[in-house]
């Protein structure tokens, strides 16, 4: 079967798999972006990032069930996630972050477990379905090189591009964005230039959470909304962020999309590796990249003159 697919190369199938990979990769990329936003300001990998996003997806579910339109629900849930994460930064992370490097990691693992249990407590153990924000009908597709491209997949990729544009504007053309970059670079100097470092960190955590909520809410319609939804995507996103370079937003996106497409191609073209082995193969590839470039593909190498 593998031989057959190799010999009779099917162009439209290739494009279809590519788009499917880009759609899932966009979810990884969004999650990886939120990891990078927090990492740049605190130097920590936030293990609870996926769960914060999932919390938002459950909020979306509650809102849509009570009649709020899907788009509106997601925006509200993103705001809820923003406030939740900003509060977590202020109340839990900030008092402990200067004690020693391990404390934040332990706190984040605690948050991961705590929020995960909270989902079951509030919303019960049963999986829910979440409506897609894109048209999901059988003929909601357009043709590209003969391949049927479904809006519910392609739309996710488009949303990633919109998100990137907004983030670029935020970081490069607003005062808040300048302050976030400054605080990520040197907190002490940021304070000396009049920036309220604590507020900037809260905004960073909030922003990361809002992006995670978007990722979870886009993933849930196809994968089903349950307490275990984000385990796999979070691992993939961590791998994507590591691959791209933990301090590089561009790296997070390239890493996420690469991982998504890789996964789709492995499942499609190397069936004997498909299914459970996909993640392992991806990790091996990442390991090889990191052996050659320890900072990740786009991570800064920090050459500095003193």
């Amino acid at each position: 079967m593998m031989l057959a697919s190799m010999i009779a190369f099917d162009g439209s199938l290739f494009v279809e798999r590519m788009v499917n990979g880009l759609a899932e990769g966009s979810i990884f990329a969004m999650l990886a972006l939120s990891l990078v936003v927090v990492f740049r300001s605190t130097g920590q990998l936030n293990f609870a990032q996926g769960e914060i996003g999932l919390f938002g997806a459950f909020v979306v579910s509650t809102l849509t069930l009570s009649g709020v339109p899907a788009w509106g629900s997601i925006l509200i849930a993103m705001a809820v996630g923003f406030v939740l994460a900003a509060s977590i930064e202020r109340v839990i992370i900030r008092p402990i972050e200067h004690r020693n490097p391990g404390t934040v990691v332990v706190a984040a693992i605690g948050l991961f477990l705590g929020i995960n249990q909270l989902h079951s407590l509030i919303w019960g153990p049963d999986a829910r379905s979440l409506p897609s924000v894109f048209p999901t009908g059988a003929d909601d597709f357009f043709r590209l090189f003969g391949a049927a491209i479904y809006w519910q997949r392609f739309g996710i990729f488009l949303l990633l591009l919109v998100l990137l544009g907004l983030l670029w504007l935020l970081f490069n053309h607003t005062k808040v964005g300048l302050a976030m970059r400054a605080v990520a670079n040197n907190q002490e100097s940021a304070g000396l230039t009049g920036m309220r470092v604590g507020s900037v960190l809260m905004i960073g955590w909030g922003l990361a959470a809002a992006i995670s909520v978007l990722a979870a809410a886009l993933l849930a319609p196809s994968a089903g909304l349950s307490a275990a939804l984000m385990f796999g995507p979070f691992l993939s996103a961590s791998a994507a962020a590591t691959l791209g370079g933990l301090d590089s937003p561009i790296g997070a996106v390239v890493g996420g999309l690469t991982l998504g497409v890789l996964k789709a191609f492995i499942i499609g073209y190397i069936p004997f590796l498909g299914g459970d082995m996909v993640f392992t193969v991806s990790l091996v590839i990442i390991l090889v990249v990191l052996l050659v470039r320890p900072g990740g593909l786009f991570g800064s190498e920090r050459v500095e003159r003193v």
Binding site: L178, S189, G191, L192, T193, G194, M195, V197, V303, E304
Partner: protein, 235 residues
């Protein structure tokens, strides 16, 4: 002249270790004051205490009001600092560093950037470069320009000569003096480079192991034999 900054009984340190043992000093409007001290005398600790980077005891009054204790609020009260080791945002471009300096301001930011590019043309040439790629002298220029972008009433400089060639130090001191005379800025410099600093100073204090042991005009201290021996390596 009235005191712009007035410090009384300043004590500060790190954890249980007290570095500053309670001393007084003032900086008047438009005045250049130098605190001279050897390594470990408490110069940087003094600067960090003033800018709220470490907690302190004692009274610090700025223009008649208590100086706030958080560094962002200290800046908003008109006190900017050029920290030891420059403290530039190494990942940001030269221009973004200057924009950060103007973070608390809204108008005439572009004009001020041009002004400091005129003062330090080398920064203009490197405006799109990452600050981390600049030389030590250029980084010190950037640090001074960034602090000045907030249009402070008082500028604190922590050992601006550290690690710089004497010619560059001289150039920087000349720029600082010009800014002082033209903008009515007050300047507090801590230094161990006595020669250059005392020549610049209206008044100076000598700090030894956390206490002020001598004070006078720059000229008086330059002529003082014990100062000469301790800080100028003559006599």
């Amino acid at each position: 002249m009235s005191a712009l900054l007035s410090v009384e009984g300043l004590k500060a340190g790190y954890g249980p270790i007290e570095v500053l043992h309670g001393f007084d000093f003032t900086v008047n409007d438009g005045e250049i004051v130098v605190i001279l001290g050897a390594n470990g005398a408490g110069k940087t600790t003094t600067m960090r205490a003033l800018s709220g980077m470490i907690p302190h005891r004692g009274t610090i009054t700025m223009a008649g009001a208590a100086l706030p204790s958080r560094s962002d609020a200290v800046l908003r009260a008109g006190v900017a600092q050029v920290p030891q080791g420059r403290g530039t945002f190494t990942d940001l471009t030269v221009e973004d560093n200057l924009l950060c300096g103007a973070y608390t301001r809204k108008s005439e930011v572009d004009e001020d950037i041009e002004r400091w590019f005129d003062v330090f043309p080398r920064l203009r040439e490197r405006r799109e470069q990452r600050a981390g790629s600049l030389s030590g002298g250029e980084q010190q220029m950037l640090a001074i320009a960034r602090a000045m972008m907030s249009r402070p009433k008082l500028l604190l400089c922590d050992e601006p000569s550290l690690g710089l060639a004497p010619l560059i130090t001289q150039e920087l001191f000349r720029v600082l003096e010009d800014a002082c005379r033209s903008d009515g800025l007050s300047l507090l410099i801590v230094e161990q480079n006595a020669n250059l600093a005392l020549a610049l100073a209206d008044r100076a204090y000598v700090l030894e192991t956390g206490t002020i042991v001598a004070q006078g005009t720059g000229a008086e201290l330059l002529a003082d034999d014990t100062i000469k021996q301790a800080y100028l390596g003559v006599g």
